[in-house]
Symmetry: C2
Subunit: 76 residues, 2 copies
C-alpha cells in the first residue's frame, strides 16, 4: 500500500489574525533567552503559549504542545 499521506481538510486557525493571508511570525532571541511558543493557534498570548492546548487536547483527544526554544548564555 502507498504510504498514507496525512493531511487535514479543516482549518486549524480559527482565531489568530484571520485577515492575514499567512500568519508567519518572526522572533529574535538573545543569549540566555528561553521562550515557549504556541502551536495550537488558540493561545491568548499568541505567538507565545498560554497553556490553552491543554483544554484543546482534553476536548478533542489531540496531543499538541508548544515549542520551547532556548539560547545558550554568552560565554563569560
Amino acid at each position: 500500500l502507498p504510504k498514507k499521506k496525512a493531511r487535514l481538510f479543516n482549518k486549524i486557525n480559527t482565531k489568530i489574525d484571520l485577515d492575514s493571508p499567512k500568519v508567519a511570525t518572526m522572533d529574535k532571541l538573545a543569549a540566555g533567552d528561553k521562550k515557549v511558543y504556541c502551536r495550537c493557534w488558540q493561545s491568548g498570548t499568541f505567538p507565545l503559549c498560554d497553556g490553552t492546548h491543554t483544554a484543546h487536547n482534553k476536548e478533542t483527544g489531540d496531543n499538541v504542545g508548544p515549542l520551547i526554544v532556548s539560547v545558550e548564555k554568552a560565554e563569560e
Copy 2:
C-alpha cells in the same frame, strides 16, 4: 454580546508522534542561528517547516504559517 471564544473541536495533529500524550518540542539555538518551525503539524521535517502549510492553506482556506526564530550573532 459576550466576546466569542474561538475554540476548535477538531484535532489539529493527525500525523506527528500520535502515540505521545503531548508533543512538546525543545530546541536549543546558538548565536547566529536561524530556524523555521512548523505550526501546521503536517511538515515532513517536523518540528521544522517544509512548506506544507502552503498546500494546507490552499485546500482549506486556512492562513497558518511558520515561526521563524533567529539569534543575534555573538559580539566580536
